[in-house]
């Protein structure tokens, strides 16, 4: 079980613990806009869920951002989570006069990390099968979320994510980093301003879908929680091709997310836009699987008068996982 931390953190302030004036915190954090060294109470306490290739990239990035403090890392792979914990503690120790830092906990089960009251926000960089579910669990635990793409595996999962994020007033940033890139923002502004005229047709290239595989069972490595790795996905026996255990894998967009955590505004890749973008991919997959062109009603989020195609909009999660 995680140790409950009692510290005057930003979270404590947000919960209204004691007679603490709002003005200095809000004014200072917002005015600073992330520049310079952030006071401890102004730092966003981060947890990481999934520390594979993408997760490690996010970790490295956030270690350099003064407004973030990484306090927890979670991965079903013991090698990855211990490596990440060590990396965090080493970096923070370098910044301290005594050269010591022991403030990052490592977890196997994301529910243990999410149970911590002192974590403000989480970065979800698990396999795709976990994205919608981990987001839902995190939001319901009161955390703000950064989730890698694709943000969901089905259309219905995407809509459920929008609903839950809005319901609890959380800040969600999808890992569509180009939304924070100056060049892409400029290009979008130009198109919206009519630089290429009225847009009538948009072509989206879809690379096709991934086939399911039947790999032979191998012994589950000691240090890997295979059941948790699978999560809500279809059961497969462990095979190292799914997950090679013990090997390291390979202001920004994060800055934009941090700013929105403070101001509670919509980030560049807000949940609605991230989910709508992901839904486009799902539509491509469904067209591929059904082998025909499909008409889509984006308002109702159904294929009108096409019950067969509609059956592809959702899929059951492996128990005990549910959105």
């Amino acid at each position: 079980m995680p140790t409950k931390r009692v510290a005057l953190t930003r979270r404590a302030l947000l919960k209204g613990a004691g007679a603490i004036a709002l003005a200095p915190y809000v004014a200072a954090s917002l005015a600073l806009g992330g520049e310079g060294a952030a006071a401890p109470s102004n730092r966003i306490a981060l947890g990481f869920i999934g520390i594979g290739a993408m997760g490690q990239g996010h970790l490295r990035c956030c270690l350099d951002l003064p407004e973030a403090q990484i306090v927890g890392v979670c991965d079903v792979d013991r090698w990855r989570r211990e490596h990440a914990k060590a990396a965090v503690e080493t970096r923070y120790a370098e910044q301290r006069p005594g050269g010591q830092y022991r403030g990052c906990e490592a977890y196997t089960d994301l529910r243990d990390l999410l149970a911590r009251d002192d974590i403000d926000a989480v970065i979800i960089a698990t396999g795709d099968r976990w994205h919608a579910l981990a987001t839902s669990l995190a939001v319901k635990a009161g955390k703000d979320v950064y989730c890698e793409k694709p943000v969901s595996l089905t259309v219905r999962q995407a809509r459920a994510m929008v609903d839950v994020v809005r319901r609890y007033g959380r800040v969600f940033q999808g890992g569509l980093q180009q939304r924070s890139s100056g060049e892409f923002i400029r290009a979008c502004d130009l198109v919206r301003a009519g630089a290429i005229g009225k847009v009538r047709v948009v072509y989206v290239n879809h690379p096709g879908t991934v086939a399911d595989v039947d790999l032979p069972a191998e012994p589950v490595p000691d240090g890997l929680d295979w059941d948790l790795w699978l999560g809500p996905a279809l059961w497969h026996p462990y095979n190292s091709r799914f997950h090679p255990y013990g090997r390291p894998p390979a202001r920004s967009h994060h800055q934009n997310w941090f700013d929105c955590i403070r101001t509670r505004h919509q980030p560049a890749s807000d949940v609605e836009s991230a989910c709508r973008s992901t839904i486009v991919s799902h539509l491509g997959c469904i067209a591929h699987w059904t082998g025909r062109s499909l008409a889509w009603d984006p308002a109702r989020e159904v294929f009108p008068d096409d019950a067969e195609a509609c059956r592809w909009l959702a899929r059951a999660m492996r128990s005990p996982w549910h959105l």
């Binding site: 004014a27 007033g169 690379p207 096709g208 595989v213 039947d214 899929r315 059951a316 128990s319």
Partner: protein, 693 residues
């Protein structure tokens, strides 16, 4: 998803390609036949994977017939998930019956799964059997029941959930609240406003969890619509920071002029910290109603608040903010002034353009300067006439800023006025600015012209002085490509040439430099004439610029200067230019060799001889090797000669093995480079083999 139909593509970590092929058995001719085949698989002794695949397929094509075979697997630890995969989307009511029947037979994970599937199906008939599960000793079961009942959202489901709230355990509270919130959304969507409000008002009063309090407030405000504004403001004014943040986010969800007005009216009453949050919210709302409040907040008060108010203005995008921002640019607080300038640049619209253009009439030269720069950043070409006048401002800083901006905005019509300004320039800074502007304008007028280009050498790396790699072989060496080059239109060149006649001193020099950047035969004529100018400074500068000419049309002039110039420095510069241009000519290699031989003879310094050897290294003939080889023993030239010799030899080793062998034998002693020595040794071996054939 086609699964057993696919060829088995191994799932590497980054593999993204899926291919669908026909079943080995052949594709079924109808959905009915397909379903029958899949059901048969379920009833057979097929391996688990095949049955799982069959369940998945039945999720897409299954009818009432598929329900019983799938339901039979709900208690199977290994196939229960896939059985639900098949049952959840099955439209036949018997699927719901099967799932409800399973409730009483299962426990643990299997039961949780079935509960979830009933929720996904919005099975209203499941409310009765699900209700008692809210009190189940297994927390996972209780939580699943709460979520499912919330998704179903009928009045009995809502009642069951609310009844459970009083005694819910800490472990199950979040899930129960989630269920209640889902049902509230359903009630609101069904028009049962009062029922939904009852729920939201109850939940927003809970002490914990904080996110439920947030959700309760949000729902309570949104369902009330405009009538929710007092509630929103009450939350904003309160001490519960969770609700303050929730109110701000909910305001953004509501949007509209009423919300903007309510927040704007509240702004002055709030403490600084909350002010910033609401100012940013007003900016995001983007409603012009908020502008007066933002302007007031920008004019005085704590600096962070003022800055936030200024930064919110471009988001509202009302040109009415322009005048205020212009004033704020003169603020004593430097950060405020800078923010105002940045935000003025970000505002769009003709009224803003006009406000900025009006800055050029301000009595403060700093304001006039800023105005000119902003016009440039905003690319207001309609302001060019105004900027041309500003280029004659009494203040030098304004003149220089105007000239630079004209360089960014001007076109062919501005050439003559720019040339006139160059001639009138009073200071070196102005001359430089005008020259830069003219070069930029001429460069923008350049148009593509087709021409043949022969690639002699290609390098990749950090040019000009960083590490590089010769990639000539990768780029097809000596291939002729048709590449379009850019050429300035005659109007540009003619304007510059005409202006030269009337210009003197620094202005004349500046125009000559612009002509050099433009290039072309006519420009070369002008520079050539300038080398005979009576003004010593012009003459000297023209000679140097001629020596830097970038195309081979200047070669005869440079060869002449290299031979006959009375000025030693010019001779050297001309010789260097000559050596640089000789390889660029489109003439036979023998001609180039002869020219380089003459150039070497003219060279009195080691530096120019090295340049000539390097140039010879690019001519891959036996004649070139013969010219290079004698220098392999010259102390100051042997290193350069070695590199040149190896470069030539690599191209002619098969045709002239004996000559190559003789030269390569001397290279190791001539060079300190291991790589060059290794290349020479390799060539020696090749030459010996070629000679023996």
């Amino acid at each position: 998803m086609p699964t057993s139909k696919t060829c088995h593509v191994l799932l590497a970590a980054m593999c993204l390609v899926g291919v669908a092929a026909s079943l080995a058995l052949g594709a079924p001719s109808s959905a009915t036949e397909q379903e029958a085949k899949l059901i048969a698989v379920l009833k057979s002794d097929a391996p688990q994977k095949e049955k799982a695949d069959a369940c998945r397929e039945l999720g897409h094509v299954g009818t009432k017939k598929a329900v019983a075979p799938l339901a039979a697997l709900l208690g199977d630890e290994k196939l229960a998930h896939m059985a639900r995969y098949g049952l959840e989307p099955n439209p036949d009511p018997s699927a719901g019956v099967a799932l409800r029947d399973a409730l009483g037979k299962l426990k643990g994970r299997l039961l949780v799964g079935v509960i979830g599937s009933l929720g996904v199906r919005h099975d209203t008939k499941a409310v009765g059997p699900l209700t008692p599960l809210l009190q189940n000793a297994d927390d996972d079961v209780a939580q699943a029941a709460a979520r499912a009942l919330g998704t179903i959202g009928t009045p009995p489901a809502v009642k069951a959930l609310l009844d459970a709230l009083a005694n819910v355990s800490d472990a199950n509270r979040a899930a129960l609240c989630e269920g209640i919130l889902r049902s509230a959304e359903t009630l609101a969507a069904d028009g049962k406003r009062d029922d939904a409000l009852d729920i939201y008002d109850r939940l927003r009063g809970l002490k914990k969890p904080h996110q439920v309090r947030t959700a309760g407030l949000r729902g309570a405000i949104l369902v009330r619509g405009k009538d929710g504004l007092p509630l929103l403001l009450e939350a904003l004014r309160g001490d519960d920071l969770v609700l303050v943040a929730a109110a701000a986010r909910t305001a953004m969800e509501m949007g509209g002029a009423d919300v903007a007005k309510a927040l704007a009216d509240e702004l002055a009453k709030l403490p600084a910290g909350k002010k910033i949050l609401i100012i940013q919210t007003l900016g995001k709302l983007g409603d012009k109603t908020a502008l007066p409040a933002l302007l007031a907040a920008a004019k005085r008060g704590e600096k962070p608040v003022r800055l936030a108010a200024i930064r919110a203005m471009p988001m509202i995008g009302d040109a009415a903010a322009a005048a205020a921002l212009v004033q704020l640019m003169e603020d004593a607080e430097a950060d405020v002034a800078k923010a105002a300038q940045e935000c003025l640049a970000a505002l769009s619209g003709p009224a803003v353009d006009a406000a900025i253009a009006a800055m050029l009439k301000d009595k403060d030269p700093l304001v006039r300067c800023t105005g000119v720069e902003l016009l440039g950043r905003r690319r207001i070409t309609s302001a060019i006439p105004t900027i041309l006048k500003a280029a004659e401002d009494p203040e030098e800083s304004v003149r220089v800023a105007s000239l630079k901006t004209l360089g960014a905005l001007g076109g062919e019509p501005e050439l003559q006025p720019m040339l006139a300004l160059l001639v009138k320039a009073k200071t070196p800074a102005e001359t430089q600015a005008a020259e830069g502007a003219l070069s930029a304008i001429c460069a923008r007028q350049a148009r593509p012209v087709a021409g043949n280009v022969v690639i002699r050498k290609a390098v990749y790396g950090a040019l000009p002085d960083g590490p590089t790699v010769d990639v000539t072989k990768k780029v097809a060496e000596n291939d002729a490509l048709t590449i379009t080059a850019s050429v300035a239109p005659p109007a540009c060149v003619n304007a510059l040439c005409a202006a030269i006649a009337k210009a003197e001193g620094p202005a004349k020099l500046a125009i000559i430099r612009v002509l050099v950047s433009v290039g072309g035969a006519k420009a070369l004529d002008v520079v050539r004439d300038a080398t005979k100018d009576t003004n010593a400074e012009v003459k000297d500068a023209a000679l140097r610029l001629l020596c830097e000419w970038s195309t081979a049309e200047a070669l005869p002039d440079l060869e002449r200067l290299a031979r006959t110039s009375p000025d030693a420095k010019v001779k050297i510069l001309a010789l260097r230019g000559t050596i640089r241009l000789i390889p660029q000519q489109n003439v036979p290699d023998e001609k180039k060799l002869a020219s380089l031989k003459e150039a070497m003879a003219l060279a009195s310094r080691t530096e120019e001889k090295r340049l000539a050897l390097a140039a010879l290294g690019g001519i891959h003939t036996a004649g070139a090797l013969a010219l290079v080889a004698p220098h392999l023993t010259a102390p100051d030239l042997k290193e350069e000669a070695a590199m040149a010799a190896v470069g030539i030899a690599e191209k002619i080793v098969q045709s002239h093995p004996a000559q190559v062998a003789e030269a390569m034998q001397k290279v190791p002693a001539a060079t300190t480079s291991k790589q060059v020595a290794q290349r020479a040794q390799k060539l020696l071996d090749q030459a010996k083999k070629a000679a023996s054939r």
